[in-house]
């Protein structure tokens, strides 16, 4: 079905009225999209807008409920990823599917036709990766590679099939600014060869920088098709969110108070072979302060959170202090009772249990800190469901959590709404210390700005807030102080106003301001 008055045969891929139903819920509802040869086409949308569902249908992972896919003028049915690859569609997923114990070449061989020798694949992969400016050692083990390098494997794997269309799902979410720049060069090279790229992102400046055209999705429908270079970030955001996104205001932050959270030469060895050990971390968060810790994923953020929260207590009491009391060996509930609150990175199965209701998920974090309100019956520990449900309702109202029904299971909420509930669950206690890991990871723009504002407001009211985040936009929005974590080591803490993105990028690569050459940041 031709779109925008173009004859169908000038398009590489045309999607007409494509619909995917899950039960009665339309994840994609009558989507029209066309991709021309040799363009970088952006697919924009909040979480839950239907981007992933759409590309899964294009790559043969999901079967559409109705509608058609036209590939080079021929209507096609894409039954499986291998069928998609045969057509000439390659895909780089957001979450890599690599075996860490295998080498680069072995990982690539897994997705190729059987019968091609490993040495041939290694040779081709190495040639191709250098030709596109994505240097890779085919004999390196994946476990030893950085996230950026792992992404290169996925890209090279897709390129080896000589695709006409490459789909990239949120490719820069795990990259340093420098690594992202390299990726963009590669994409431009692909474009110059006449290949098309479908680029999924919610980072507006990137889209404006590299994309020729953009299609915007909201609630499973196309809400706009435009040339991103002719739009402003706020007009694009409006198409994505459907309304203006509230700007986070960090004005009027109060003066620094006493130190509320402190780590003194905190070290912890890695618990698993693929974890990162923490090395001599020192930090202080004062009342009224938001300390943001930047860093590329997998550099010890999770481990730092575990140590600070007390999920995995450390050997010595003195290395972690909350409100000036040593707590290093105490568990998470002891720290909660001292007024600390914690928000882990992973929503499902860590911060919340998907199958349990919101009120049960409220007890999850607050069974001890709110013992008096939520539990009765003395040693029996009877849960006072009515009190808990009231509190859950109060939190939902305060954070504008949109849900189906009074007390639905946590798994039925969208990522943004669940995250609002999880953050609200801690804010409801007015914690004096709040430690948050990736507060808006995978959350839509509307919910993200609400959560960030809540963090800023909490600090303003005199609490100490520690935010661990990979998102530099977020860090600059909320932080009063910034530090960078790299390979389990923490940089010095700088006032937010004194740091530029470039400086943070260098710190992320482990360069503590000594030799400032961009090239070395890629050497892992």
């Amino acid at each position: 079905m031709p779109v925008e008055g173009e004859p169908a045969n000038s398009s590489l891929l045309t999607v007409g009225q494509l619909t995917k139903l899950f039960g009665t819920f339309a994840a994609c509802d009558g989507i029209n999209l066309d991709i021309r040869p040799g363009e970088i086409h952006a697919l924009l949308g909040e979480n839950g807008a239907g981007k992933s569902t759409l590309v899964k249908m294009l790559f043969g992972v999901l079967a559409p409920s109705s509608g058609e896919i036209v590939w080079q003028g021929q209507p096609v049915r894409i039954a499986s990823p291998s069928a998609a690859r045969k057509l000439g569609i390659g895909m780089v997923f957001q979450h890599f599917s690599l075996f860490e114990a295998l080498t680069v070449a072995e990982n690539i061989a897994l997705s190729m036709d059987p019968g091609v020798s490993l040495s041939k694949i290694a040779k081709e992969a190495s040639d191709l990766s250098h030709a596109y400016g994505l240097p890779l050692d085919p004999h390196a083990h994946v476990a030893d590679l950085s996230v950026g390098e792992r992404q290169r494997i996925e890209i090279v794997r897709a390129l080896l099939q000589n695709p006409k269309l490459i789909i990239l799902d949120e490719p820069t979410s795990v990259l340093t600014p420098q690594e992202a720049d390299r990726l963009f060069e590669t994409l431009n090279k692909l474009k110059a060869e006449g290949r098309s790229v479908l680029y999924i992102s919610h980072r507006l400046e990137e889209v404006q920088r590299i994309c020729d055209r953009a299609t915007v999705l909201r609630h499973g429908k196309v809400t706009g098709a435009c040339d991103p270079r002719k739009e402003t970030p706020s007009s694009l955001a409006r198409m994505m969110v459907g309304s203006d996104v509230a700007h986070v205001s960090a004005e009027g932050t109060s003066a620094k108070g006493a130190v509320k959270l402190e780590a003194n030469h905190l070290s912890a060895s890695a618990r698993t072979p693929f974890a990162v050990s923490l090395k001599n971390i020192c930090l202080k968060v004062h009342a009224g302060e938001v300390l943001a810790i930047a860093g590329v994923a997998g550099n010890g953020q999770g481990e730092l959170f575990d140590a600070l929260s007390g999920e995995y207590p450390v050997a010595s009491d003195d290395v972690i202090r909350i409100s000036d009391k040593p707590v290093g060996t105490r568990g998470i509930n002891a720290r909660r009772l001292m007024g600390a609150g914690f928000v882990p990175e992973e929503r499902h199965g860590h911060a919340a249990v998907s199958a349990l209701s919101l009120s049960d998920n409220l007890i999850l974090a607050r069974s001890q800190s709110d013992r008096r309100a939520f539990l009765g019956g003395g040693f029996l520990g009877l849960i006072r469901q009515d009190a808990v449900k009231m509190a859950a309702k109060r939190i939902s109202a305060a954070m504008d959590v949109r849900k189906s029904g009074e007390n639905p299971p946590a798994g039925s909420l969208s990522g943004g709404n669940l995250q609002k509930f999880i953050v609200g669950r801690e804010l409801d206690r007015q914690p004096t210390v709040l430690v948050v890991n990736q507060p808006t990871w995978g959350v839509d723009a509307g919910a993200a700005s609400r959560i960030r504002q809540a963090l800023v407001d909490l600090a303003k009211s005199g609490s100490a807030v520690l935010v661990i985040s990979q998102d530099l936009d977020e860090i600059f929005e909320v932080a009063t102080e910034i530090a960078v974590i790299s390979e389990g080591k923490l940089s010095d803490i700088y006032p937010a106003s004194e740091l530029s993105r470039e400086k943070i990028g260098l710190l992320m690569g482990g360069m503590y301001g000594k030799t400032e050459t961009a090239e070395t940041t890629h050497a892992h």
Binding site: R77, E311, I332, R336, S367
Partner: protein, 364 residues
């Protein structure tokens, strides 16, 4: 073509309740077909399988006797399984409970006192719990797989019992038969009501089911069990210890299996023999899942499986067929219950590919 299971957007309340009954109906229907194929009259066969045991008082008592250990064990197992600890060794814990509880009536058989019976029950629970403590220790501190260790310990318990009754505990006045002396009247669990043989084991089973149901439904401990079963990481975030939960759930289920063991020996058999269980510990696993790991559901499921034991014995007598149909019935029932439950949550969708337009090789 490929078949997909698609999650239903919302689950019908009505069919959730009806599901076990539909399963029972299907089991009876296909069981009837089985009897026809065996050349027997299906109506009379089904009658003697399912109805006859329920028509006489003495067989209702037998039903309670068979259901008691099944329910007691399955209630304990439900706590284990809900907390993601896979105790498969209840049969062994049953036997060790029976042995520990029998110390008083066998070794100290001259001591008669009203205290004997309560002490036997306590010792039985201790024996089962300590035996379940072995896989618990191995899992909590050495990270071994509790499925394997608890299962292997079943054979240890069976052989230990065999050695005891043939060796040190053999009845001196028992003509060399491999069994212990019969218990003194003060060591025998009394009947619940005067009309028949059913002993207090059934009362224990109902009481245990109600207490565990209350714990799971209303208390923080029950919440802890549910959370740790669903996600260990979320449990850690809540400040719950999965290591302590391994100990708690294994010791609890071991104690209940041990109580079932001593109650069976003291109430029904009244001495120790080389074999004291027709596989109650394993059948209880089916009971736990048929009851959907809900203690009240387990009471019903325990009665149903006890009925298949009784009905199986009845048709052996009345129709002169082997004991295999019982196994088939139990299998059919489990199959239909699980598939009915699945179809309540999922619907089946056939994916047909249009062959003229297919570009890939289709379904793998």
């Amino acid at each position: 073509m490929r078949i997909e299971l698609e999650r239903r957007p919302d689950v019908s309340k009505l069919f959730s309740i009806l599901s076990p009954f539909i399963a029972l109906g299907l089991t009876i229907f296909f069981g009837g077909i089985m009897f026809v194929l065996l050349g027997k009259d299906p109506v009379s066969a089904l009658y003697s399988f399912f109805i006859e045991p329920l028509t006489e008082v003495w067989s209702l008592h037998e039903l309670a006797i068979k259901a008691a250990p099944l329910i007691l064990i399955a209630v304990g197992l439900s706590v284990c399984y809900r907390s993601n600890n896979w105790n498969i060794g209840a049969e062994g814990q049953f036997i060790m409970g029976a042995i520990a509880g029998s110390i008083l009536p066998v070794v100290f058989h001259e001591w008669h006192s009203p205290l004997v019976l309560p002490l036997m029950m306590v010792l039985g629970m201790l024996g089962g719990a300590l035996f379940a403590g072995i896989p618990a220790f191995l899992k909590a501190h050495l990270n071994t797989n509790e499925i394997l260790t608890s299962l292997m310990l079943v054979y240890v318990a069976q052989l230990f019992l065999d050695w005891l009754v043939r060796g040190p505990w053999r009845n001196p006045g028992g003509m060399n038969f491999p069994e212990t002396r019969t218990f003194d009247a003060s060591a025998i669990l009394p009947e619940m009501i005067a009309s028949g043989r059913a002993h207090w084991g059934f009362g224990f089973a109902i009481l245990a089911a109600i207490l565990v149901w209350f714990m799971m439904r209303y208390t923080l401990k029950g919440f802890e069990i549910t959370v740790l079963g669903q996600s260990e990481r979320a449990g850690r975030f809540a400040g719950f210890s999965s290591r302590k939960m391994i100990w708690f759930s294994m010791l609890l289920s071991g104690a209940l299996a041990g109580l079932a063991g001593i109650a069976e020996v003291s109430g029904a058999i009244q001495q120790l023999r080389p074999v004291i269980s027709p596989g109650y510990g394993f059948t209880a696993i089916i009971v736990a899942f048929l009851g959907r790991l809900n203690p009240l559901g387990i009471v019903v499921a325990g009665l149903v499986l006890a009925l298949t034991y009784l009905g199986g014995e009845a048709v052996q007598v009345s129709l002169q067929i082997s004991d295999k149909p019982i196994r088939v019935f139990q299998g059919l029932l489990l199959f239909f219950v699980l598939s009915c439950d699945t179809l309540i949550h999922y619907k089946i969708r056939m994916m047909w590919y249009d062959l003229t337009k297919t570009t890939g090789e289709g379904a793998r």
